[in-house]
Amino acid sequence: MRGNKLIYTAAMIAGIILICVSLIFFGDEESKILSGISIGIGAGLFGMSVAMLSINAIDNKKPELKKQNEIELSDERNIMIRDKAKARASDITKPFFILLLMLTILAEAPLWLTCVAIGVFLLREIIEFFLIFKYNKKM
């Protein structure tokens, strides 16, 4: 728990630094994309860390609630529901991703953007096959 607290505090500080850096150093038009990415990652890190630290604080004050949350998290039906929902969401969004990929070609987006999109799509497929292979051996 203490280790987690340190990690989340560090992530929160990193998030604040990222936001500050992007606001101070990337103000001009040329570094707009870099600034956007920094703010996005910084805000994400900050938000996640604050949320996790708050959850930890509540858990420490109310041990019975912590126990209940742990049960909910490790409950086999809940795990199955979460895994199934994630898998279904991934399957449903797959055609949209292909559509997005085609849009980058039709909209004559920069080649690197199309390549990155294809790379991400291929990575997803490779991970899926790797996991099928892994679970086939494991189960």
Binding site: I71, E72, S74, D75, E76, R77, N78
Partner: protein, 64 residues
């Protein structure tokens, strides 16, 4: 798969919340088991059977 979980639990005078707490599962899982919407893993089936000091097949009824 059909089961007699609700009948057995009621006969013992145990609430769903209490059973869930003893088995370390959510109350919704107990509800879903009783409604027949969810089939438990073999581990949970054993836990339930041991909790009631019964055999698995006395609680869970397998029908082809």
């Amino acid at each position: 798969m059909k089961n007699r979980l609700e009948e057995i639990r009621r006969a013992k005078g145990i609430r769903q919340e209490e059973l869930a707490k003893e088995l370390e599962v959510s109350r919704q899982t107990i509800g879903s088991l009783e409604n027949g919407r969810y089939n438990p893993s073999i581990v949970l089936a054993f836990k339930i059977a041991r909790y009631f000091d019964m055999k698995i097949e006395e609680i869970f009824l397998y029908e082809e």
